[in-house]
Amino acid sequence: MTHPLLKVTGLKKAYGAIQAVGGVSFDVMPGEIFGVIGPNGSGKTTMFNSVLGQIKPDAGEIELNGQSISGLSPLALSRRGVGRTFQTLQVFGKMTVRDNLIVAAQEHQGSMLSRMFAPGDSGLGDRADALIDQFRIRHVADTLAGTLSYGQQKLVDIAMAFMAQPALVLLDEPCAGVNPSLVGGISTLLKELNRNPKLGRQSSFVVIEHNMDFVMDLCHRIMVMVEGRVMAIGTPAEIRANKEVLDAYLGN
């Protein structure tokens, strides 16, 4: 019996009278790609930010590998192997693509003092290059990230979340604003990273996304959120066949 990698129990968060997240529970298994869908305002991002320590939930327990991570800061979570991307682009605009990747992992090794005397690339150059090749952004590796097109920045943004070889990555709308031809590319990349043989272990994802084809193709299981509550959790086939979900969200 394998234990869940991420276990969220009874998560609640209210903004004034509005219950953004009202008692959400779910498990993510090791190696699983777990999709989260639901209409705008259904509490997906609030749930995300609560799990990631960006905001403080009113109630609920969050466990990573059986250990409580409730109330930990984004910094502490990152050091424990939880990576994330944001809904909007968040790259370091005035740094090169390669430096964006290196800085995304350098703080995970050594002490602050030892990093003062470490080489500029912290010995992470090879790992950065591997991701640069995998994401096919070699031709812009030495370009300032802020000068790239939206799609290229999105790729850099996603690649950064994987630099520190996290066990769990939470992706908030990886396809938002990306042109349709790139959506397939991102899906392929995420599948590769999920199985990543070089790491010797699988990494698990939680993915918020509105693009249904993308979610149904990529995710092993999907959670549907409506008005801060879990409407259904199941495989893509089960979700597609769920009458309640069809009525509330997917439509005909």
Partner: protein, 335 residues
């Protein structure tokens, strides 16, 4: 490409260093004094460039650290201590006061942080002006001696210049090393996007505090050298106005460019002194300077050293559009 840039940067630095080494042979006494004055500001502005240009923490209190450094040396030397104790003491005291000033930066950013640091500068300036028992008030402290090093007197303007130059090169070398280490990347990440930085495991609290502390230590060293250079200090050079001028020097040279402070300090302190002796220009210096800054903010907001990058970007854009035009022409011909 990047290697070439590094090599060019290194070549530039070496060329400037060589020039500075021989310059005093061709200058009169006052010229040598002015060069030392400039280098002192280069050190101070390097520190502010770290805090503001690299780490993105907008500080309008840098002249206060410069002043704390100067008064530390002056007071210690008046009490009979050696300059060689005063110099590291100035750096250390500024480091820790800078660390403390970093705390507001953890809560407020941008213009609000600028106001907080401005308040700090005013408070320090008031201490310098009002606490006569310690600082001599508006009369200041005079007859600050220049030190001697290993038996060589640094009393003359020329020897003192070479001493200041050596300290400048050491401070520049240290900063260069720091910025090339992972710390440099962490500072830039903090500047570009603190929220993302934190989510990647970068301890933005520590880096914010240290960007202030290290920047302040540079101002402390500069202040110590300043006190011994001008040999008389009073509160006037350490006002909020001076801090704003220092910020301007960072911006004019190019915030976040390693050699920015070299240019910025030249424009900020050498040019006005030099133009004071040019008949007809002296009275117009400030208005011309003001107008130049306004024009620069409009057309060159990233400073003088951004010009090469600008040109490179323009060339790349031109090449890209030429390529597109060629492609379009080809498609037209084929259809």
């Amino acid at each position: 490409m990047k290697l070439l840039q590094h090599k060019m940067g290194l070549a530039c630095t070496l060329a400037i260093a060589a020039l500075l080494l021989v310059a005093p042979q061709y200058l009169k006494n006052y010229g040598v004094y002015l060069l030392s004055y400039w280098l002192v500001f280069v050190i101070a502005i390097m520190g502010l460039n770290l805090t503001t240009g690299y780490a993105g923490q907008k500080s309008l209190g840098h002249a206060a650290f410069f002043g704390i450094g100067a008064y530390t040396v002056a007071i210690l030397m008046k009490a009979g201590f050696s300059f060689w104790l005063g110099l590291p003491a100035a750096a250390l005291i500024c480091f820790f006061v800078g660390l403390v000033l970093g705390f507001p930066a953890l809560r407020v950013q941008a213009i609000y942080l600028a106001f907080a640091t401005l308040g700090f500068n005013t408070a320090i300036w008031l201490v310098m002006r009002n606490e006569e028992w310690l600082t001599g008030g508006t009369f200041g402290i005079n007859n600050i001696a220049r030190p001697s090093l290993l038996g060589f007197s640094l009393e003359g303007n020329r020897p003192y210049y070479y001493f200041v130059l050596a300290v400048t090169l050491v401070m520049a070398g240290l900063l260069w090393g720091l910025l090339r280490s992972p710390w440099g990347k962490a500072f830039k990440a903090l500047r570009d996007n603190p929220i993302r930085a934190e989510s990647l495991g970068i301890d933005i609290r520590n880096y914010t505090l240290l960007s202030f502390a290290i920047g302040a230590a540079y101002a402390g060293v500069a202040g110590a050298l300043f006190a011994s250079l001008v040999q008389f200090i009073e509160p006037a050079p350490f006002t909020v106005g001076a801090s704003i001028m220092m910020y301007l020097m960072v911006v004019v040279g190019g915030a976040g460019y390693f050699l920015g402070p070299v240019l910025g300090a030249a424009v900020g302190v050498v040019m006005p002194e030099w133009m004071r002796d040019v008949p007809g220009v002296a009275a117009w210096y400030l208005p011309i300077f003001g107008a130049a800054v306004v024009l620069m903010m409009v057309w060159l907001p990233d400073g003088l050293l951004s010009i090469p990058d600008r040109l490179k970007e323009r060339r790349a854009a031109r090449e890209a559009s030429a390529l597109r035009a060629a492609k379009a022409a080809k498609m037209k011909a084929e259809s």
